[in-house]
Amino acid sequence: MVKLTMVARVTDGLPLAEGLDDGRDQKDIEFYKQQAKLLFKNLSRGQNEASRMSIETGPYFFHYIIEGHVCYLTMCDRSYPKKLAFQYLEDLKNEFERVNGNQIETAARPYAFIKFDTFIQKTKKLYSDTRSQRNLAKLNDELYEVHQIMTRNVQEVLGVGEKLDQVSELSSRLTSESRIYADKARDLNRQALIRKWAPVAVVLGVVMLLFWVKKKIW
C-alpha cells in the first residue's frame, strides 16, 4: 500500500509534485513527510547516492529512484513488495518525463507541476491491491530486477547530513563566539587604559583648576 508519493528536483530539493491527500488516516504522516524532505535536502547537497535506493524507517520503507535530476519517492508498508513499489515509481517517472520533461530545469516555484497529482492518484489506485491480476503479473515479471537495490536505514542516511549540519553549526558558533571574545578583549583593554591614566588625569585636572582659581582670585 502506497502511503506517500513525492516528486522533487535533485539539484535544489525543490518539490515539484505530491500525491493528493496522501496519508489521510495516519497521524504520524507529518513526521515521515519531514523525513522525506530531509532526504531530498541531503540529496540536493550532492552526496552521491545510488540512483535507486530503499530506506527503512519505522514500520515503513522509503523507495526512491533518481532519473534526470528528478527524485521520485514513495513510502510503503514494510510488507509491500519492493518490486511493485519500484514499478510504480517507474510508471510515474515515465509519465512525468513525458508531460513535463522539458520544463523541469526551469521550474521556479515549488509544486510547479502540482497538476501531476491526478496521475499520481490514479496510478496509486492501480497499485494499491497487491493481489490484483495486473500486479501479480508484474511481480512475476523476471525482467525487472530489484535485488541489487541497496537497503539502508534512515538514521544512517540522515545521520550523514546531521553530522554535516552539526559541524557547520559548530563552526558558525565558533565564529560568533570569537567575535564576542574580540569585542570583550577590546573593551577590557580600554578599561585597563582608563584605570592606568585616570589618576594622572585627575591630578592634572586638579592642578589646572588650582591654577585657574588662583588666576581668578588674583
Binding site: L20, R109, P110, T118, Q121
Partner: protein, 1038 residues
C-alpha cells in the same frame, strides 16, 4: 515646519513694508481678533483687486519677500479688519511672511485650486479670511525639518526642497480641503475662476476679489455685509444652488471659509479650513427652519475616491484595496479621543482591477521572499536602502536588514536602487510574491466544491432543486482549477443521500444513510472526486437529480448531520461547501426552533438574542470547518423563518457568504439564483488563505470586522476569499505620543490560487501623522467611515437592541460634528448653522440611511427577522463602493430615455434624490440598490409605454409580484432592457432582480420602494431635513 507662526512676532517689526497703495482695502485681518471683521471693508471696490492679485503671485520666492526693499505687500485683502492705517506696516509684514510660507506648498498641489468655487464669477463680497499659515503644512506638521528632508531624498515623489520653508510643504494634503488653502494664500488676490492655477502662474490676475467669504452664498454678491448676517445668526435661505449643483449646500465646495477668524494669525492652531455649513434657520429650535431640502448634500455621483491621496503617495496601493477612515493618523491619544468617528481601515485584498492594472507577480526564486527579520514586513516601495545597497531599513520597525546576495543592487546618486524600475515590489504598492516552500504546510490544494442540497418537499416544489442542478451543470466547464478540481454532492431530507461518483461507473450510485445520530461514510472514496475524471458521472447525476426527488414528500431537514457528513468528506482537503437550505433544520444535531415571532421580546434586553445563533452547534461546526480550510456559503430560500442568524454563523466564521432568496419561486427568481450561483462557482477564488495587517510602530489594529476566523490576535484565517469580500478593522494608538511622521500599513494575504500556486499578495500604504484635528477631518474618507460604522452597528445589534445601535451611530455622528464645530465656531460665530468638513458632507445622510437600512430599521414589523439578519451578514462583507450604493441607492428617471432614446444612457441617466418628491406620476423610474432593481410605473404614465414594457395592459390590475420582466418585441422594451443591462454591468458581483411596481399599489409599493426612499419620513424615522435639524441641535447643545 510651521516656522512662520512662530517667527511672526519677531519679524513683524523687522519688515519694512510699505503700505501698499491699496492699503485701505488691505486690512490685515490677522491681527484683528474678530472673525467677522468689518465688512465695512467689504464694500471695497473691486477695482482694487487687481492690484492685489498681481502681487502675491509674483513673489513666490522667499528671497523676494525677505528683500528689504518693500515688496508690495501681498495681500489678502482682508476686508474684514477695519484697516487702521497705522498698523499697516507691521501687519503687512507679517502677512508677508506667511504668505510666502504658504506659497511653497502650492507648486506641489497645483491641481487643487482648480476646484475653485463655482461661484467664481461673482464679484462677491470681499474675502474675509485672514491668512493662515498652517494649512499647507498639514501632513507632516511636526517633525523636525531635517528628517523630512531625508525622506524627501529617499522618495522620488517629493519635490526637491526649495528652501527650508519648503519643508513644510513636502506633502500637500491630498484632499479637496485644499480649496481652503488656495483661498487662503492668495487671499483676495485669487481670482475666483475655477480654472485658476494661478498660484503657480506668475501672471497677475486681475480679478475681482475672490469671494472667499463663506457666507458668500447666501449673500448676493453685491451684498455688502454678509458677515453681519452671520453673526446675527440669521441666515437668509440660500439662493437656489448654483448650476453646478445638485449640491445644495450653500457653499458646497466653493464655500471654503478661509478661516475667517483672523485670530489665528500667527498661531499654529489656526485651523483654517474650509468647511461646509448649512444654515438651519435663524432661531435654532424654532419650528420653521430654514433648511432647504434641495440644498442638502447628496452623493448623486456615486463614491468619489480620494484620488488626491494617490497623488501625494504615488507608491501607495490603489484605494480600491485599502482605505483608511482618515488619511491622517493622530499623533496622540488625546487627539484620537477627540476624533469620535472610528479610526481604522477597510481592506479589499482581492478587489477586481480593470484590465491593464493587474497586480504584478514577483518571483524571488531561491533568494526567498525579502522580509524584515524582526517584524516580518515584506519588502515594499517605502523601504530605504543604505550602505551602498547592502542593507535595507524596514519602514515599519526601522530595523536594518541585510540584502541577500541575490538581491543586491548598487544605488544611484540619489540613494535609489538602480533596478528600481525593473522591480515592481519597489515601485508599486501592490504586488504578488510567489511563495517558496516555507509558506506551505502541504502541497497547494485543488479547488474543491461540495454541494449540500436540501431535497425536502419545499425545495422541490419551489423549483429550487432543478435550477441549482442546471446551474451547476452549466458551470462545470468553467470551474477554476482544471484539471485538479474536485467535486462532490450530498443531498438530504430526513436522511442523508451520498452519491458515489467513481469515474469507472456509468451512472452515479446513491447511498442512503438514515442514522442521524452516528454519522458514518458509506464509502471511503469516491464521494469527492476529480471532476475531469468523473465528468460523465457528475453530468448524469445533475441530470437525474430533479427527477429523482420530484415526488419527495419529506418535510424534514437534517441539516446538522448533513454538515457533519460533509465535513468528514471534505476535511482532508478543505474547499468550498455550498449549502442550499429551504426549510428550518428540524432533525438531528443542530435542529433549530421557530423564534422571532414573539412580538413582546422586541424592545427588551433579550431582543438581540434573536439575532444571535441560538445553537452553539453552528459556531462549533464553523470553527471545525475553518480549521480544515472549508468555507461555507449558505443559500437560504424559505418564505418562512429559517433562522438565518444561526445558519449565517457558518458563513461568518469561515469566510463565506449568505445568499438569501426569501420566498423563492423558480419562475421569478431563477435568473438571480442562477447568476449568483454561477458567479460564486466561477469567480477567481483564493483558497486556504490567511491575512495579516502589519502597521508601523505606535499603532495597532485592535478589532476586525467581516467574515473570517481570528486565528491568533492578528491573523485572519480565510478558508476561501474572493473579490466580493472586504474586511474592516479598527486602529488604536499604543503610545501616548507618536514619534514618527508617517505610519505605514501592509496587508499581506497568503493564499493558494485555483491553479495551484501559492502566492502572497501584499498591499502597502503610508499615511501621515498629524497633530491637528482639522487635518484629520480634512483627510476623512466618508466611504471608509460609513463602511466601518455599519459593521460596528451590525455587531452592536447582536449584543444590544436595534435602537441602541441606531443611537450609537447617531451619537458618533453628533459627537464628531460637535467636535468639529468647536474647532471653528468660536472664531466664526456661525450661530445658526451646522458646519461640517467638506470630506464628511455626506456622512449625516449615510448615517441616516444606515439607521433606515434593512438590518437596522424600525422594530418587529419593519423587516422580517431573517431578512434583517441576512442584510446584516451581507453588510459585513460589502466593499465600500457597494456599501455606498446600498446605503444611497440610485433612482433614475428613464421614461424619456425610452421614448426619445438617446443612445448614450450613461450620460443621460441622472441620479435623483431619494425622496417621494422626485417621483412624478407621469414618469417611469428605476431604483437600484445594488441588490435589486425596482421599476416604478407612475399612475399617469402613458399606456403605450406600459404595454410596451410589460407586454400587457395594466387596466386589468394584474398581479405584478409574479411578473418576470422579459424583452418584448418593441422599441421601449428593448431600450429598457439595454438600460438594465448597462446598470447591471456596473456591479457584476450581484444580479439585480427586476421588480415592477405600480404607483399606488399597496402594500407592495410601500415595502419595495417607499420605505427605501430614505430621505422621506416614514413611521418612526425622520426625514433628511428633520435629521439634519436634529443633528444640528444635538451638536449645538453642549
Amino acid at each position: 515646519m510651521q516656522p512662520m507662526g512662530n517667527d511672526k512676532p519677531a519679524n513683524v517689526p523687522g519688515r519694512p513694508v510699505l503700505p501698499s497703495p491699496a492699503a485701505p482695502q488691505l486690512s490685515t485681518p490677522f491681527i484683528s481678533p474678530g472673525p467677522v471683521v468689518g465688512l465695512g471693508a467689504s464694500g471695497v471696490p473691486q477695482t482694487t483687486a487687481p492690484f492685489l492679485s498681481s502681487r502675491p503671485i509674483t513673489g513666490t520666492q522667499m528671497s523676494d519677500y525677505r528683500s528689504p526693499s518693500p515688496p508690495p505687500p501681498i495681500r489678502y485683502n482682508g476686508p474684514s479688519s477695519p484697516p487702521p492705517p497705522t498698523s499697516y506696516p507691521g501687519q503687512d509684514a507679517t502677512i508677508y511672511q506667511q504668505t510666502h510660507a504658504t506659497r511653497f506648498p502650492l507648486p506641489a498641489q497645483p491641481g487643487t485650486p482648480l476646484r475653485g468655487p463655482p461661484s467664481v464669477g461673482l464679484p462677491v463680497t470681499p474675502p474675509i479670511g485672514s491668512l493662515r499659515p498652517q494649512p499647507q503644512i498639514p501632513s507632516v506638521p511636526m517633525g523636525p525639518a531635517p528628517q523630512i528632508g531625508t525622506h524627501l531624498s529617499s522618495r522620488s515623489y517629493m519635490p526637491p526642497p526649495l528652501s527650508e520653508s519648503s519643508f513644510s510643504a513636502p506633502r500637500p494634503p491630498p484632499q479637496p480641503s485644499l480649496h481652503g488653502y488656495s483661498n487662503v494664500l492668495p487671499r483676495g488676490n485669487m481670482p475666483p475662476s475655477p480654472a485658476e492655477t494661478q498660484f503657480l502662474a506668475p501672471r497677475p490676475v486681475s480679478q475681482p476679489p475672490s469671494q472667499q467669504a463663506f457666507p458668500s452664498f447666501h449673500v448676493p454678491p453685491v451684498h455688502a455685509s454678509p458677515y453681519h448676517v452671520h453673526q446675527g445668526g440669521v441666515v437668509p435661505p440660500p439662493p437656489p444652488p448654483p448650476l453646478g449643483g445638485p449640491l445644495g449646500y450653500n457653499s458646497r465646495e466653493q464655500m471654503q471659509y478661509p478661516n475667517t477668524g483672523p485670530p489665528m494669525g500667527g498661531s499654529l492652531q489656526g485651523l483654517i479650513e474650509e468647511f461646509q455649513s448649512l444654515s438651519v434657520g435663524s432661531a435654532p429650535g424654532s419650528l420653521d427652519h430654514g433648511v432647504d431640502a434641495k440644498s442638502l448634500p447628496r452623493p448623486l455621483n456615486g463614491d468619489e475616491e480620494a484620488i488626491k491621496i494617490q497623488e501625494t503617495y504615488p507608491l501607495n496601493c490603489h484605494q480600491r484595496f485599502f482605505r483608511l477612515t482618515t488619511h491622517a493618523i493622530p499623533t496622540s491619544q488625546s487627539l484620537l479621543a477627540r476624533w469620535h468617528l472610528p479610526l481604522g481601515a477597510v481592506v479589499h485584498p482581492l478587489a477586481e482591477v480593470p484590465d491593464g492594472e493587474e497586480v504584478p507577480i514577483v518571483n524571488f526564486g531561491p533568494a526567498g521572499v525579502i522580509r524584515c527579520r524582526r517584524c516580518r514586513t515584506y519588502v515594499n516601495p517605502y523601504v530605504t536602502f543604505t550602505d551602498a545597497g547592502r542593507k535595507w531599513r524596514c519602514n515599519l520597525c526601522s530595523l536594518l536588514n541585510d540584502v541577500p546576495g541575490e538581491y543586491y543592487c548598487a544605488l544611484d546618486a540619489s540613494g535609489r536602487r538602480c533596478d528600481f524600475d525593473q522591480r515592481p515590489e519597489l515601485s508599486k504598492g501592490s504586488v504578488e510574491f510567489v511563495a517558496p516552500t516555507e509558506y506551505m504546510v502541504r502541497p497547494p490544494m485543488p479547488p474543491v466544491y461540495f454541494f449540500l442540497i436540501d431535497v425536502s418537499i419545499s425545495a422541490v416544489q419551489c423549483g429550487l432543486l432543478e435550477i441549482v442542478a442546471k446551474t451547476i451543470k452549466s458551470c462545470l466547464d468553467e470551474l477554476p482549477g482544471f484539471p485538479r478540481t474536485q467535486i462532490g454532492f450530498l443531498t438530504f431530507d430526513s436522511a442523508l443521500h451520498f452519491h458515489n461518483l467513481k469515474s469507472s461507473l456509468t451512472q452515479p450510485q446513491m447511498l442512503v444513510v438514515a442514522d442521524l445520530d452516528d454519522i458514518f461514510l458509506p464509502l471511503p472514496d469516491d464521494l469527492l472526486v476529480n471532476l475531469s475524471d468523473s465528468r460523465h458521472v457528475v453530468d448524469a447525476l445533475l441530470d437525474s437529480l430533479p427527477s429523482m426527488f420530484q415526488d419527495n414528500v419529506n418535510v424534514e431537514s437534517a441539516l446538522g448531520p448533513a454538515l457533519k457528513a460533509a465535513f468528514m468528506i471534505m476535511s482532508r482537503l478543505g474547499g468550498k461547501l455550498l449549502v442550499f437550505q429551504s426549510t428550518l433544520p428540524s432533525l438531528g444535531v443542530g435542529r433549530l426552533r421557530l423564534r422571532g415571532d414573539d412580538l413582546r421580546i422586541y424592545g427588551t434586553d433579550k431582543e438581540h438574542t434573536l439575532r444571535m445563533p441560538e445553537d452553539p452547534f453552528y459556531k462549533q461546526m464553523a470553527a471545525e470547518f475553518t480549521k480544515n480550510q472549508i468555507a461555507v456559503d449558505v443559500y437560504a430560500f424559505s418564505e418562512k423563518y429559517t433562522d438565518i442568524a444561526s445558519l449565517g454563523s457558518l458563513a461568518k466564521y469561515t469566510g463565506g457568504q449568505v445568499y438569501h432568496h426569501p420566498s423563492f419561486q423558480a419562475t421569478t427568481h431563477q435568473e438571480k439564483l442562477r447568476y449568483e450561483l454561477a458567479r460564486d462557482l466561477t469567480r477567481e477564488t483564493a483558497w486556504e488563505a490567511v491575512m495579516r495587517i502589519r502597521c508601523g510602530k505606535g499603532v495597532r489594529f485592535t478589532t476586525y470586522h467581516g467574515h473570517f476566523m481570528l486565528r491568533s490576535t492578528d491573523l485572519l484565517a480565510l478558508p476561501a476569499v474572493d473579490c466580493d469580500k472586504a474586511f474592516a478593522m479598527q486602529l488604536s494608538l499604543e503610545d501616548t505620543l507618536m514619534t514618527t511622521q508617517t505610519v505605514y500599513f501592509q496587508v499581506a494575504l497568503l493564499y493558494t490560487s485555483s491553479s495551484g500556486e501559492r502566492r502572497i499578495r501584499v498591499h502597502t500604504a503610508a499615511a501621515p501623522v498629524v497633530a491637528d484635528l482639522g487635518e484629520m477631518y480634512r483627510q476623512a474618507d466618508t466611504g471608509a467611515i460609513i463602511s466601518l460604522l455599519s459593521r460596528l452597528a451590525i455587531e452592536k445589534t447582536q449584543s444590544h437592541k436595534l435602537d441602541d445601535a441606531r443611537q450609537l451611530m447617531q451619537l458618533k455622528l453628533v459627537k464628531s460634528l460637535k467636535e468639529y464645530r468647536n474647532l471653528y465656531v468660536m472664531q466664526h460665530r456661525l450661530g445658526g448653522r451646522l458646519i461640517f468638513p467638506e470630506s464628511l458632507k455626506f456622512l449625516p445622510l449615510y448615517v441616516l440611511s444606515l439607521c433606515k437600512s434593512v438590518a437596522l430599521r424600525g422594530g418587529y414589523a419593519d423587516a422580517s427577522l431573517d431578512e434583517r439578519c441576512a442584510a446584516g451578514y451581507n453588510m459585513m462583507i460589502l466593499p465600500i463602493r457597494r456599501m455606498l450604493r446600498l446605503l444611497y441607492p440610485g433612482l433614475y428617471k428613464i421614461d424619456e430615455n425610452l421614448i426619445k432614446g438617446p443612445e448614450d444612457f450613461e450620460k443621460s441617466l441622472k441620479q435623483l434624490a431619494l425622496s417621494a418628491q422626485s417621483l412624478d406620476p407621469r414618469a417611469l423610474y428605476i431604483y437600484d440598490d445594488g441588490f435589486s432593481f425596482i421599476i416604478w410605473l407612475g399612475r399617469m404614465l402613458s399606456p403605450d409605454l406600459v404595454n410596451g414594457i410589460l407586454g400587457f395592459d395594466l387596466s386589468g390590475f394584474p398581479d405584478l409580484s409574479k411578473l418576470a420582466l422579459l424583452e418584448h418585441d418593441n422599441e421601449y422594451s428593448r431600450k429598457l432592457m439595454r438600460i438594465i443591462k448597462r446598470l447591471r454591468e456596473k456591479d457584476p458581483s450581484c444580479f439585480q432582480l427586476c421588480r415592477v411596481v405600480r404607483q399606488g399599489e399597496q402594500p407592495r409599493e410601500g415595502s419595495l420602494l417607499l420605505s427605501n426612499l430614505i430621505e422621506d419620513q416614514t413611521a418612526g424615522t425622520s426625514s433628511y431635513v428633520d435629521w439634519i435639524l436634529q443633528i444640528y441641535r444635538q451638536s449645538q447643545s453642549s
